[in-house]
Amino acid sequence: MIEIERISRAFGGLQAVRDVSFTVEKGSITGLIGPNGAGKSTLFNIVAGALPPDSGRIRLEGEDITGLPTHQLFHKGLVRTFQIPHEFSRMTVRENLMLVPARQSGERLLKSWLGWWKVVREDREILRRADEVLDFLEIGHVRDELAGNLSGGQKKLLDLGRTMMTDAKAVLLDEPGAGVNRTLLGKLAEAIERLNRERGYTFCVIEHDMDLIARLCDPVQVMANGELIASGDMATLRDNPEVREAYLGTGASGTAGAA
């Protein structure tokens, strides 16, 4: 689905990503883990079109998408969320979702002026879909709140909700669990699993919560110091000496990243 081929990127003297290649298979929930500063978010930004790579290619279902801007990737079915939730703080939760659907005729100013009744009719349908998503995520009770007033965890759910308003094929989730309490985390994981199962979304997930990764992801790619050092299922990786070293330093014992 997403083929990452020999991507490198440096910031000044810092080689943030070095010659990384792997493939996110269609229908999978692929994990991407590694200690802080491993280059995961940089790689995500490159795949999502927010940052150009120094070298290497990205392909989406065989098509070269390297360097395309974010909004064009969206229309090709590649959608992302952010590590820090990026809500539209002065818009309501519903409006946050209603913004997203592509090809809204009301996004043309002339159509809004000359056919506003048609635009309102179309918007009513978009509102219905937004309310469905809010019910699915069980945050319907805050639908008319300004998104800036939500809790951190609710904002994470809202980010995920925005991806559900698209016809996405592949979704990049940057730390969906960060700052989310345990109860909400279970809900979030369940939502991701259902989207994967019922709607056929492919996911690539950066996450530090190893329980969440173990529950959701197979396979898992491990990065450290800008390089890909291992991949496989979580059970295997826990016993991989290189992974343990990356997380805990040489000679450490115990389970890697069990916290």
Binding site: A48, F82, E95
Partner: protein, 312 residues
């Protein structure tokens, strides 16, 4: 002032309020909805005023003119000429944000003013273009009806735009650009559209202004009258709220006019600096508003959801 004089003054006053209300609506599309910090309003105001002046006046003596076109064609010309001007300015400044956009636009507005000042073949330079007629030989009273009709039309168009999905994208850009791009929206396109449409509304205000005062010269398009007052109106009225923009035009123009009365009361020592004193008062007013009621007289309200009826 006797009653007849007061009535005449009121008509004069309301015409200007209407014209400024239109410009405040244009600025609201750029700043209130999109967050574009345009302080070059005077430039588009001038383009609109000069265009209709050139198109509708009779025989010209040494400047471009003599087309003698009707009023409505002159106004249409104001808007049409503003489209390419605003488009070019918008493209140049497309990637600039907030303070950088402000610096660029104020510079461009001055360039436009100096262009009209120096290109005498086009604009008659410092002497300006006289003899711009009101349509149908109307007086200030009749002309007020025309201005108010344009205010109403502009308000309707801007308000429909604000409530539409197009306006929703603009507000999203204002809140968070990366997330708007991640939602598949072409930010550059929306920013440019809002800039051009908002600027054309300012040009319409300029056109109405030219026919109202009957005379245009570069002096009228200094940043104070052309730009600064419009900003104070929008901030005072409530940026993001179209009714607020119009209310702000009324309130600020009342205060601005009443400072004219104050000018008669200043001590003799200060005679000659009345105009500076008026500007100072407006500056103080802006500070007071920003500190005590930053959301303005009528704060922004979210547009109603489709099918929603509001009680209030």
């Amino acid at each position: 002032m006797e009653l007849a004089g007061l009535g005449a003054y009121l008509l004069f006053f309301l015409n200007l309020v209407g014209i400024y209300a239109i410009m405040a609506l244009g600025l609201n599309m750029q700043w209130g909805m999109t967050g574009q910090f345009n302080i070059g309003i005077a430039g588009f105001f001038a383009v609109g005023a000069y265009t209709t002046a050139i198109l509708t006046t009779g025989p010209a003596d040494g400047w471009l003119g003599g087309f003698d076109l009707p009023f409505l064609l002159g106004l249409a010309g104001s808007i049409i000429v503003c489209v390419p001007v605003a488009w070019v300015v918008g493209r140049i400044t497309a990637n600039l944000r907030t303070d950088y956009l402000a610096i660029a636009t104020i510079g461009i507005a001055e360039i436009i003013r100096l262009f009209f000042l120096n290109e005498g073949w086009l604009s008659n330079g410092t002497r300006g273009i006289p003899g711009i007629q009101k349509p149908l030989d109307l007086g200030n009273g009749g002309y007020l009806l025309i201005v108010l009709a344009f205010v109403a039309i502009t308000y309707l168009l801007v308000e429909v735009a604000r409530r539409s999905p197009w306006g929703r994208v603009l507000r999203a850009i204002r809140d968070n650009e990366p997330a708007t791009a991640a939602a598949g929206k072409d930010i550059a396109r929306f920013r440019l559209e809002a800039f051009v449409v908002g600027s054309c509304i300012m040009a319409l205000g300029g056109g109405l202004y030219a026919h109202f005062v009957g005379f245009v010269s570069p002096e009228a398009f200094r940043p104070l009258y052309g730009t600064f007052l419009v900003w104070v109106m929008l901030i005072a009225g409530g940026s993001g709220n179209n009714l607020g923009a119009m209310l702000g035009a009324l309130v600020v123009w009342i205060i601005w006019s009443s400072t004219e009365v104050l000018a008669d009361l200043v001590p003799t020592a200060l005679i000659g600096s009345e105009s500076a004193f008026r500007v100072f008062l407006i500056g103080v007013l802006l500070q007071v508003i920003l500190v005590s009621r930053p959301q303005g007289l009528l704060p922004e309200r979210r547009p109603p959801m489709p099918g929603e009826r509001r009680r209030s």
